[in-house]
C-alpha cells in the first residue's frame, strides 16, 4: 500500500499525529538538554545533587530547627521548607477564621456592615499581594517606634520596628508527655461527640455533650501533670531600658508575610463562604426558623453544613494558592524554601537542580493539600442513597 492510502486510514493517521507530537517534544527536550550540558561543561559547573551534602556556610535568620552555617545544604533546604510550611499553615488557619466571619457579615442585613466588609474584600482583591507585602514590611520597619518605645498591644505583646514579641512557654521537661496528653484529650472529646450523635440518631435522646467533653479534655492533662514530671514556665517579655528581654521574637519579615498572606487569603475565603451560603435555597433558612431555631442556630446547624459542600472544593484552591504565594517571601527576605534555594544557586552556580527541587516540593505540597481537602470534602459531600 502506498503511504497516501495508509493516511486515509483513521487509526494510522491518529497514530502518526501522536508519534510526531511525542517525537517533537523529545527532540526539543534533547536539544535543550544537550545545550545545557555543553554550557555547564564550558563554565565548569558541577551537575547532580552532590552539592546537597556539602557545607552550606550561610546564616539563616529564622530556624525552626537547629541549624548552623556548618550544616549541609540539605539541612538548609529543610529549614527553608519548614519556614514555608510554618508561615503558610498559620496563614491558612487565620485566613479561614477571618474569611468565614467576613463572608458571613458580608451578607448582614445591616447595609453599613455589609458595605464595610465589601470594601475590605475589594481592597484586598484589587491590589497585588506583592505590593501589600512591601507595604506591610515598610509599615513595620519605618513607621513603628524602635524597641525602646515598643507599643504594648496586649499585656506581654509588644510591637516595634524589629517585629513582634509575644510570651513564650519554656519547657524544662515533659513537653512530649504534655503534648500527648492534650492530643489524647482532644481525641477522646471528639469520639465522645460521635457517640452522642450516634445515640441521638438511634434513640432520639440527647446525652450531655460539652460537660463530658470538657472532663475528657482536662483529665489527661491533669493525670499527666500528676504522674509525670512536667515543668515549664511562661517567659514574659520584659521591656527594659534599651531592649526587650524574654518572650518569643517574631521578625518583621515573618510578620509582614504572615499578615499579607492571611489578609489576601481571607478575602478569597470570604467570597467563597458568601457564595456558598447564597447557594443554599432560602427555604432551608425559613424551614429552620419555623422550627424555632434562632438565626445563629439556623446558620450553624442548617445553612453552614450544607454550604460546606459548595465551599470546600474552591477552598482547596485557596489553600494551595497560599502555599504557592508564600514563595513571595523572597521579596522581603523571609528565608523560605525559594530564598534558601536562591542562595544555594548563587553559591554553587548550579541553577537547574535547586529550581527542579523546589518546583518538585511545591508540586508535592499542592498534591498533599489537595489530598487532605479531598478527604475532608468526601466527609461533607452530599451522601446520596446507596442503591
Amino acid at each position: 500500500m502506498s503511504p497516501i492510502v495508509l493516511l486515509r486510514n483513521r487509526r494510522v493517521r491518529e497514530l502518526a499525529y501522536q508519534v510526531i507530537c511525542v517525537a517533537a517534544v523529545v527532540a526539543i527536550g534533547w536539544y535543550l538538554l544537550s545545550n545545557a550540558l555543553a554550557n555547564l561543561a564550558k563554565q565548569d559547573i558541577a551537575t547532580g545533587f552532590g552539592y546537597l551534602g556539602r557545607e552550606a556556610g550561610f546564616v539563616i535568620s529564622e530556624t525552626p530547627i537547629a541549624y548552623e552555617p556548618s550544616d549541609s545544604y540539605a539541612r538548609a533546604l529543610l529549614v527553608g521548607l519548614l519556614n514555608t510550611v510554618k508561615v503558610a499553615l498559620l496563614a491558612i488557619v487565620f485566613s479561614t477564621v477571618i474569611g468565614t466571619l467576613v463572608g458571613i457579615t458580608r451578607l448582614s442585613t445591616n447595609p453599613l456592615l455589609s458595605r464595610l466588609m465589601l470594601f475590605y474584600v475589594e481592597a484586598l482583591r484589587n491590589v497585588p499581594l506583592l505590593l501589600y507585602l512591601f507595604l506591610w514590611y515598610s509599615v513595620i520597619i519605618f513607621t513603628l517606634p524602635p524597641v525602646r518605645q515598643a507599643i504594648t498591644l496586649l499585656p506581654g505583646v509588644y510591637v516595634s520596628n524589629s517585629g513582634l514579641v509575644v510570651p513564650a512557654i519554656i519547657w524544662n521537661s515533659g513537653f512530649w508527655v504534655a503534648a500527648a496528653a492534650v492530643v489524647v484529650g482532644i481525641a477522646a472529646a471528639f469520639v465522645w461527640f460521635r457517640v452522642v450523635r450516634r445515640r441521638r440518631i438511634a434513640t432520639g435522646r440527647a446525652l450531655p455533650g460539652w460537660p463530658v467533653a470538657i472532663v475528657l479534655l482536662v483529665f489527661p492533662v491533669i493525670a499527666a501533670a500528676l504522674l509525670f514530671d512536667i515543668s515549664g514556665e511562661v517567659d514574659w517579655p520584659v521591656l527594659g531600658k534599651f531592649r526587650l528581654t524574654g518572650g518569643a521574637h517574631l521578625k518583621p519579615e515573618f510578620v509582614a508575610l504572615l499578615v499579607g498572606l492571611t489578609l489576601s487569603a481571607s478575602a478569597s475565603v470570604a467570597e467563597i463562604v458568601r457564595s456558598g451560603i447564597l447557594a443554599i435555597r432560602k427555604g432551608q433558612r425559613e424551614a429552620a426558623k419555623s422550627l424555632g431555631l434562632s438565626d445563629g442556630q439556623a446558620m450553624r446547624l442548617v445553612i453552614l453544613p450544607q454550604a460546606l459542600r459548595v465551599i470546600v472544593p474552591p477552598l482547596t484552591n485557596v489553600y494551595v494558592t497560599t502555599f504557592k504565594n508564600s514563595s513571595l517571601a523572597i521579596a522581603i527576605g523571609y528565608p523560605d524554601l525559594v530564598m534558601v534555594s536562591n542562595t544555594i544557586m548563587n553559591q554553587t552556580g548550579q541553577a537547574i537542580e535547586p529550581i527542579a527541587l523546589f518546583m518538585l516540593t511545591y508540586l508535592v505540597l499542592s498534591l498533599v493539600t489537595s489530598a487532605v481537602m479531598n478527604w475532608y470534602n468526601g466527609h461533607v459531600a452530599l451522601k446520596e442513597r446507596q442503591s
Partner: protein, 361 residues
C-alpha cells in the same frame, strides 16, 4: 455579582423587616449597636485618612519639610511620578510610553463594547500592537532607538499582562483541545504540562526563565531579559487559560459536535467553526477575571529584576534625596493605581456576566 447579592440579602431579610429605609440600620437594638460601631470605625478611619492626606500633609516644599511633618509628602509623588510611571526610559522621550499607554487604554476601552466584537476589531489590534511596539522601541520614523532594558513602569506592566494573555490564548485553546483529545499520547502531554505549571508558583517559572533558560540556549544565543519573562508569563497563563477553556468545551452539549460531524465537517473545521466560538463565548467572564489576576501577578517580575510599575515604585524609595522620608506614599499611590484598573476590569467582568446570563435565559 454585587447586584445579585444585594437582591438576595434583601430577599432574606424581608420576613423580618418589611419596608426598608432606615430600618436596615436601626431595626433592632442589636442592629443599632452594629450600625453605631460601624459608623465609629468608619469615622475613625476617615479622620485618620483626612489628617494624613490633607491636614498634616506637605503639599509643596523640600524633603526637609516632609521630614518634620507627620502627614503625606505630596512633593515626593510630584518629584518621582515620571520615574514611577516610566522607569529609566530616556526622560525626553517619555511622551512615547505615555502616548502608547493612552492609546492602549483607549483601544481596550473600545474593545470592551460587545457590539464592536468582530473581525475589524481583531484587525485593528493586529495593526495597533506593532505600532505601539515601534513607538516604544524606536529606530524608525526618526525616533531614537530605546532598548527594552530601558523600558519600565506602567507601560511594561500593561505589556507583560496583555501580550502575555493574548499570546497565551491560542496556546491555551490548543492545550484544552489536546487535554480533551482521545489520542492518549497527546492527552498525557497536555495534562502533564497543565498540571505541572499549575502546581508550582509563578515565581519558580520566572526563575526558570531568568536563570535556567540561558543555560539551555546554544552558545552565543542570548535572549532579551524582558522577552524571557514574557515567555514565562505566556506559558504560565496558557495553563490557566487551558483549564478555563476546557470548562467551556465540556459545558457544550455533545449534539453540537455530532451535528457538525453529520454535516461532513472534519475535526479542525468543526472545532474552529462550531465548537470553539461557542465555548469561548461562555468563558469570557472567567477569562476577564483571569486577566485581572494576571495584571496583579505580573508584579512578580519585580523579583527577577525587571522594572515593572511596582519595581519602579520600590526603587524610587532609594532616591538619596528622599531616603527614609516618604516611605509609604509610593506604595499607597501604586495601590490606588492597581485598585482603579483592577476594580474597573472587575466591574466590566460583572457587566459581561449579567449580559451573558440574560442572553442564555
Amino acid at each position: 455579582m454585587s447586584e445579585q447579592s444585594t437582591m438576595v440579602s434583601n430577599e432574606l431579610a424581608s420576613p423580618d423587616r418589611p419596608g426598608g429605609g432606615l430600618r436596615g440600620y436601626f431595626g433592632t437594638v442589636g442592629n443599632s449597636a452594629v450600625t453605631l460601631v460601624c459608623l465609629a470605625v468608619f469615622l475613625l478611619v476617615a479622620k485618620a485618612a483626612i489628617s494624613w492626606l490633607l491636614v498634616n500633609a506637605v503639599f509643596t516644599g523640600t524633603p526637609e519639610d516632609c521630614k518634620v511633618a507627620s502627614g503625606a509628602c505630596w512633593p515626593y509623588l510630584a518629584d518621582k511620578l515620571r520615574y514611577m510611571l516610566f522607569g529609566i526610559y530616556p526622560f525626553d522621550e517619555q511622551w512615547r510610553p505615555l502616548t502608547a499607554t493612552l492609546l492602549f487604554i483607549a483601544a481596550m476601552a473600545v474593545s470592551g463594547i460587545p457590539r464592536l466584537w468582530g473581525r475589524p476589531l481583531i484587525a485593528g489590534w493586529i495593526v495597533l500592537l506593532p505600532l505601539l511596539f515601534l513607538l516604544m522601541a524606536g529606530g524608525v520614523f526618526g525616533l531614537t532607538s530605546v532598548p527594552t532594558s530601558q523600558w519600565g513602569g506602567l507601560p511594561l506592566s500593561f505589556m507583560l499582562t496583555f501580550v502575555g494573555l493574548v499570546l497565551a490564548l491560542p496556546l491555551g485553546i490548543l492545550l484544552a483541545l489536546a487535554r480533551l483529545s482521545n489520542l492518549p499520547a497527546i492527552r498525557i502531554l497536555a495534562i502533564t504540562f497543565i498540571e505541572l505549571v499549575r502546581g508550582v508558583p509563578l515565581i519558580s517559572i520566572l526563575f526558570m526563565a531568568s536563570v535556567m533558560l540561558p543555560l539551555f540556549m546554544p552558545e552565543g544565543v542570548t535572549i532579551d531579559k524582558l522577552l524571557r519573562a514574557q515567555v514565562a508569563i505566556i506559558l504560565f497563563a496558557a495553563a490557566y487559560i487551558a483549564e478555563i477553556v476546557r470548562a467551556g468545551l465540556q459545558a457544550l452539549p455533545r449534539g453540537q459536535t455530532e451535528a457538525a460531524q453529520a454535516l461532513g465537517l472534519h475535526y479542525w473545521q468543526y472545532t474552529f467553526l462550531v465548537i470553539i466560538p461557542q465555548a469561548l463565548k461562555t468563558v469570557i467572564p472567567p477569562l476577564v477575571s483571569l486577566f485581572i489576576g494576571f495584571f496583579q501577578d505580573t508584579t512578580l517580575v519585580t523579583i527577577v529584576g525587571l522594572l515593572d510599575f511596582l519595581n519602579t515604585v520600590r526603587t524610587a524609595l532609594r532616591d538619596p534625596n528622599w531616603q527614609g522620608i516618604a516611605v509609604l506614599e509610593g506604595y499607597l499611590f501604586a495601590a490606588v493605581v492597581y485598585f482603579v484598573f483592577s476594580a474597573m476590569m472587575g466591574a466590566y467582568s460583572r457587566f459581561l456576566e449579567k449580559r451573558f446570563r440574560v442572553g442564555h435565559d
